[in-house]
């Protein structure tokens, strides 16, 4: 059974049809590259899945069960984690504090429940080690490199038993070496059995880590095929509209 299933999902903002009857499925351990030009509907699709707003029409199923989200927190409770383009990190807090933001580990009893700094730093350290990232849990995020910041945002998704991770342009604004780091992180998530949707403008990244590529244009899905059955040239053509559908 697929982890994620979208049936005829549409999203309209007034007269603007941001998404038109999109179907898609995603299996465990599968990495889907979601490509398209600006305004093609990629972000809208991700926001619908992540619970930022409900679809106008259509149905979303998680492991076969229909879901209706109204807030991102509800989607997170069902095992959908998002790594936002801006990473949604607090620069003034430590890496561990960011990983545990909104779900801090506490100890104590009754009204006296204190943050368990040690447990959080230890768990965050384990997650960074799992991701093979040289990130110190107690360092402030403002002192970190782009790759380390990505690791913090990704470690957050590993905290719960996430089944599906949505990544919005994780390689857009970082250096070449850091891109390689992030792609490694994605492969590790895949090995851990997670389904991943990777939104990216960068063709080499998509072809490096994805199993399938889905192309959107003007709110419509125009292609969805295995990465081995396509080429960067074809995908570029699909994105720009030079090739109509595939």
């Amino acid at each position: 059974m697929p982890i994620l299933e979208l049936n005829q999902v549409s999203k309209h903002f007034g007269a603007i049809h941001a998404l038109n009857e999109v179907d898609m499925t995603l299996a465990e351990g599968e990495v889907l590259g979601l490509m398209g030009d600006n305004g093609a509907g990629k972000s809208t699709l991700v926001k619908v899945i992540a619970g930022n707003f409900p679809p106008t029409h259509g149905e979303i199923r998680l492991s076969g069960e229909p879901v209706h989200f109204h807030k991102p927190v509800e989607a997170r409770e069902k095992g959908i984690e998002v790594v936002y383009q801006d990473l949604a990190l607090c620069n003034n807090l430590s890496a561990a504090a960011n990983v545990f933001l909104g779900r801090e580990v506490k100890r104590g009893a009754g009204p006296f429940r204190w943050l368990d700094h040690r447990a959080m730093a230890k768990r965050a350290g384990e997650l960074f080690a799992e991701l093979k990232s040289e990130t110190r849990p107690r360092d402030l995020v403002r002192q970190m490199s782009g790759g380390q910041r990505q690791a913090v945002a990704i470690a957050r998704t590993r905290l719960s038993k996430a089944r599906l991770v949505l990544m919005d342009e994780p390689t857009a604004a970082i250096s070449v070496r850091q891109v390689a780091e992030v792609l490694d992180l994605i492969r590790r998530l895949k090995d851990a059995g997670m389904a991943i949707i990777l939104i990216s403008h960068r063709m080499p990244d998509v072809f490096a880590v994805c199993d399938r590529v889905m192309v959107m244009r003007r709110g419509n899905k125009v292609a969805d095929k295995p990465i081995k059955a396509t080429s960067p040239e074809e995908v570029t053509g699909l994105i720009t509209g030079a090739i109509h559908t595939a």
Binding site: L89, N92, G102, A129, R136
Partner: protein
């Protein structure tokens, strides 16, 4: 940064094990530390220049009591500033609280009832601030500026523009709260406002460091959008910080009325400047995300020790505002320099 990629796999665990900053290193790199150093230097110099007037137990008692009212308000202000907000209404909330307490005591109710009424009046003003800022989305500056005018005018109307001093049977117990003292040695006393300030500073420090509420307050100031996305109850916490700030102002007013023995509707006029200055001098960042309880304490102390020193040096007291203003601007500039260095 650690070693290059080939060795990375072996070194990760050891790298993760390194604790980069211990408590002492963090403290000495904070603004509050340097303010503490400045304060000690000023005290040493003044004790040397004016041994007969500065370094006396009476002067210590009076100065520490005077800064305690502002210090208590500055504690509440740090929480508001930490979320990236500002509370300009605290001075007027003091006036409103003073009048509420005065009227309750005048009507013959006991001291504890006056305390509750005072805290309630202040808390309601803070609740209105918080609801408007969090749920209607108005700017903290405009909202609390409005409350500055409203709370003061309500205080004037309620008091009938007279001084309230004929406290009924509740008077003595109410006054004891603000005018009491704790005798340490036969000729060395700590005022009760100072004791309250010390206890509150400690408690708020623990809250910032050890509770998820404190962490969420800082997270909202660091990146409000991120806090929202990760499930932090942003709006509820914003309401809470304005209520907290108003309650600290109300409590400072209760102590102040108790100490003075009379309630006037003008109590606290322009104290918002002092409370904000104390918090900022102590290291609170007006952009949000940084605040410390100890900073509020030491910031208030510095302002009042400097005022005290200027008076003793024979400087016209009308110059004090200029010095507070200069220190405020200087502290913000220092914060900006530190911020630029860190990024």
């Amino acid at each position: 940064m650690a070693s290059d990629a080939p060795q990375a796999n072996v070194s990760i665990e050891s790298v993760l094990g390194v604790q980069q900053h211990n408590f002492w290193q963090r403290f000495t790199s904070s603004q509050a530390f340097w303010v503490t150093v400045a304060l000690i230097v000023i005290c040493i110099v003044m004790s040397w220049l004016q041994p007969a007037s500065f370094a006396t137990t009476e002067n210590f008692y009076n100065t520490t009591r005077n800064f305690s009212f502002i210090g208590i308000m500055a504690l509440g202000m740090t929480a508001v500033i930490a979320t990236g907000g500002i509370d300009l209404s605290v001075g007027s909330i003091m006036g409103l609280t003073a009048v509420s307490c005065g009227l309750t005591l005048d009507a013959g109710y006991p001291g504890w009832a006056a305390v509750i009424v005072g805290l309630f009046a202040g808390g309601v003003a803070g609740l209105i601030n918080g609801i408007i800022i969090a749920y209607l989305g108005l700017s903290p500056f405009v909202t609390t500026l409005g409350m500055l005018a409203i709370a003061r005018s309500v205080a004037v109307v309620l008091s009938g523009n007279r001084m309230l001093y004929k406290f009924g049977p509740g008077g003595p117990s109410f006054k004891a709260l603000g005018s009491g003292a704790w005798r340490i040695t036969p000729n060395f006393e700590l005022s009760s406002p100072l004791l309250f300030l010390i206890v509150f500073t400690f408690l708020l420090g623990v809250v910032y460091k050890m509770t998820s509420w404190g962490r969420h307050v800082l997270a909202i100031g660091g990146n409000e959008h991120a806090a929202l996305l990760t499930g932090v109850p942003v709006n509820r916490i914003k309401v809470q910080v304005y209520v907290f700030s108003a309650l600290t102002a109300a409590f400072a007013a209760i102590l102040s009325v108790g100490w003075a023995g009379s309630a006037i509707n003008a109590l606290g006029a322009s104290y918002e400047l002092l409370a904000i200055s104390a918090a900022v001098i102590g290291g609170a960042n007006l952009m949000g995300g940084e605040a410390s309880a100890y900073g509020a304490f030491i910031g208030a102390a510095l302002i009042f020790v400097i005022r005290n020193s200027l008076l003793m040096a024979g400087v016209d007291s009308n110059w004090q505002g200029s010095f507070v203003g200069l220190f405020l601007i200087g502290a913000v500039y220092l914060g900006k320099l530190r911020g630029a260095k860190r990024e």
